[in-house]
C-alpha cells in the first residue's frame, strides 16, 4: 500500500491532522531530550528525599536533646513522687495519673460519639442540606484553636454543669477538641469501604443496620482506630484548654473519682519549664520523655488492635 492510500483512508478519522504516515517515519519530528528528562526525575526524587530527611533530622535532634537533658532524672522515684519545691524530691505522679485518667475518659466518651456521628453522616443522612450544614461545621470545628475549646469547657462544663475543675470537666473539654478529628477520620474510613460490599449485603436481604454492623463497620474499623489514636495523641499533649479550666493548681494527689481535681503532664511540664532553676528544666525534659513513652504505647495499642481486626479476613 502506498503512503497516498494511507492518507486517503485516514482523512476522515478524528485525529487532528488526519494522516500520520507510518511509512514516512521521520525522527526529526521528535525531540525526546531523554537525558534531560531522566535528570529531572533524579533531581525531583532527591528533593523529596531531602524534604523527608529535614523532618526526620529535626525530630531526632529534638529527641536526643530531651533525652540528654532528662534521662538523668528518670527513675521510679520520679514517677512515684509528688511535685515539690525541692527539685531533688519532685515527681510526676499526680500528672502521670491525671493524664491517664484524662485519656481513658476522653477515649470512652469520644469514640462512640465520633464513630456514631460518622456512621450517621455516611450511611443514613443522605445528601440533604442538613447533612451538608453539619459537615461544614465539623470541618470548621476541626480547625478551631484548642484554647477556644478551653473557654467553652470553662463556661459549659466547669460552670454551667457545675463539674468544677474536675478531671471529668477536663476530659469532656478534650473530647470536644478531638471529636471533629475522630468524626472526619471515621468518615474517611467508612467512605473507603467499597459500595459493592453494601450492595451485596442489601441484595441478600440485609437491613441497613445489618450491612453496617457486619460489613461496613468491621472493614472501616482499622482506619477508625488509627484516626482515634491520632486524635488522642493530639489530646495527650494539650495544655492550653486544661490551663483554662483550671488544672494549674498545685496538686499533690492522684484523682480518685471523676469529680476530683487533677493536673496533667503537659501542665506539669509548663510549670517546671517556667522556673529558672536548671534542675527543674531537667525535670521538664524527663516528663517530656514520659509523655512520649505514653504516646508510643498508645500507638502500639492501635497497631495491635488494627492487626487483630485486619487478620480476620
Amino acid at each position: 500500500m502506498s503512503g497516498g492510500d494511507a492518507r486517503q483512508r485516514c482523512s476522515g478519522c478524528a485525529v487532528a491532522g488526519g494522516a500520520h504516515p507510518a511509512a514516512q517515519r521521520d525522527e526529526r519530528r521528535f525531540r525526546p531530550r531523554l537525558r534531560a528528562r531522566a535528570r529531572f526525575g533524579v533531581v525531583f526524587q532527591a528533593v523529596t528525599l531531602v524534604a523527608t530527611l529535614i523532618g526526620v533530622v529535626v525530630l531526632a535532634v529534638l529527641l536526643a536533646d530531651i533525652i540528654a537533658d532528662g534521662s538523668g532524672r528518670l527513675s521510679s522515684d520520679f514517677l512515684r513522687h509528688n511535685p515539690s519545691y525541692l527539685a531533688s524530691r519532685a515527681g510526676l505522679r499526680p500528672a502521670l495519673f491525671g493524664t491517664i485518667w484524662l485519656m481513658l475518659i476522653t477515649a470512652v466518651v469520644a469514640f462512640p460519639l465520633g464513630v456514631g456521628t460518622a456512621i450517621w453522616l455516611e450511611e443514613y443522612a443522605g445528601d440533604t442540606r442538613f447533612k451538608r450544614l453539619i459537615q461544614m461545621n465539623i470541618a470548621n470545628l476541626a480547625g478551631v484553636p484548642s484554647i477556644v475549646y478551653g473557654i467553652l469547657g470553662l463556661a459549659v462544663f466547669v460552670r454551667a454543669f457545675a463539674l468544677g475543675r474536675s478531671v471529668l470537666a477536663g476530659a469532656l473539654t478534650l473530647t470536644l477538641l478531638i471529636l471533629p478529628v475522630i468524626i472526619i477520620a471515621a468518615q474517611e474510613a467508612i467512605k473507603a469501604v467499597p459500595g459493592s460490599i453494601r450492595l451485596a449485603a442489601y441484595a441478600l436481604g440485609a437491613t441497613r443496620w445489618e450491612a453496617v454492623r457486619h460489613h461496613v463497620f468491621p472493614l472501616a474499623l482499622p482506619g477508625i482506630l488509627t484516626g482515634t489514636i491520632l486524635a488522642l495523641s493530639r489530646a495527650i499533649g494539650e495544655a492550653a484548654p486544661l490551663l483554662l479550666i483550671g488544672a494549674l493548681a498545685f496538686i499533690d494527689f492522684v484523682p480518685g473519682s471523676l469529680t476530683d481535681q487533677f493536673t496533667a503532664i503537659p501542665i506539669q511540664i509548663y510549670n517546671w519549664v517556667s522556673r529558672p532553676q536548671q534542675p527543674f528544666q531537667e525535670l521538664a525534659a524527663a516528663a517530656g520523655i514520659v509523655l512520649l513513652i505514653l504516646l508510643l504505647g498508645m500507638n502500639a495499642i492501635a497497631i495491635v488492635l488494627r492487626n487483630r481486626y485486619s487478620r480476620k479476613h
Binding site: 460490599i197 449485603a201 441478600l204 436481604g205 437491613t207 479476613h313
Partner: protein
Amino acid sequence: MSQSIITPPGNVELETRDLSVLYGPTRAVKHVSIRIPDRKVVAFIGPSGCGKSTLLRCFNRMNDLVPGARVEGAALFQGRNLYGGDVDPVDIRRRIGMVFQKPNPFPKSIYDNIAFGPRINGYRGNLDEQVERSLRHAALWDEVKDRLDQSALALSGGQQQRLCIARALAVEPEVLLMDEPASALDPIATQKIEELIYQLKQDYTVVIVTHNMQQAARVSEYTAFLYLGELIEYGPTEEIFTNPREERTESYITGRFG
C-alpha cells in the same frame, strides 16, 4: 410506543406495566411492559445506557438505594405490586436474589460469605448443610470444600462469581437477577457460569442482562431488546435472533450499531 405485551406460556413470575424509572429529570426506562415466565431464562440485551440494568434493578428494588431515582408504573412479583405500601424491600431482596457485574465477595471466609444471608434471615436449618448445598448448587463445592475458612478474596475471578451465585442461592430465592455476570471473566470461567445458568433454570427464574449476544442466544429462552430506555422487541430468543420483527433489533444483533 404501543407494544403488544407478549405473554410467554407458563406462569408469570415477574411483570411490569408501563414502568418508567427516572433519575432526576432523565427517564432511563420508558413505559416498559414485559412479562417474565416462571423457571425460564430471560435475557435483556441492548447497547450501553439502554436501561437494561436499571430495569433489572426494579425487580428487587435496588433502585431504591440510588439517590434521586423514582419509579412510575407497576412492577409485579407473582401478581403482587413490588412497589406497594405493604411491601418491604428487605423481604423482596431475599426472595429475588441478585448477582452483580463484578464479583463482590465479602472480605471474609468462604463459609461466612455463604452463611451471612441465612444468618440474618433467621435460617432455622443446619447452617453447615445449607452452605454445602449452596456451594454444590453453584458448582463450586469441590473446588473449595477443603478451605471454607479461607478468605474468599483468594479465589479466582470466576470462582468468586460462582461464590456470589452460591451466596445468593443460600437464602433460597425464587428469582435470580444477573447483571452481566460474566463480563469481567475469562472465556473458560464464562462458560462455567453459562452452564450453571442452564442448570439453575430448573429451580429458579433467571433474568440476565448481557452485552454478549452469543451469550444471550446460548443461555436464554426469551430475549428482550431495549434501546434508549424503551422495550423494542421481546420474544422467544430464537425468533429475536433469526427473524426479528423490528429493524432496530436486527441492526443491533447484526452489529450495525451499539
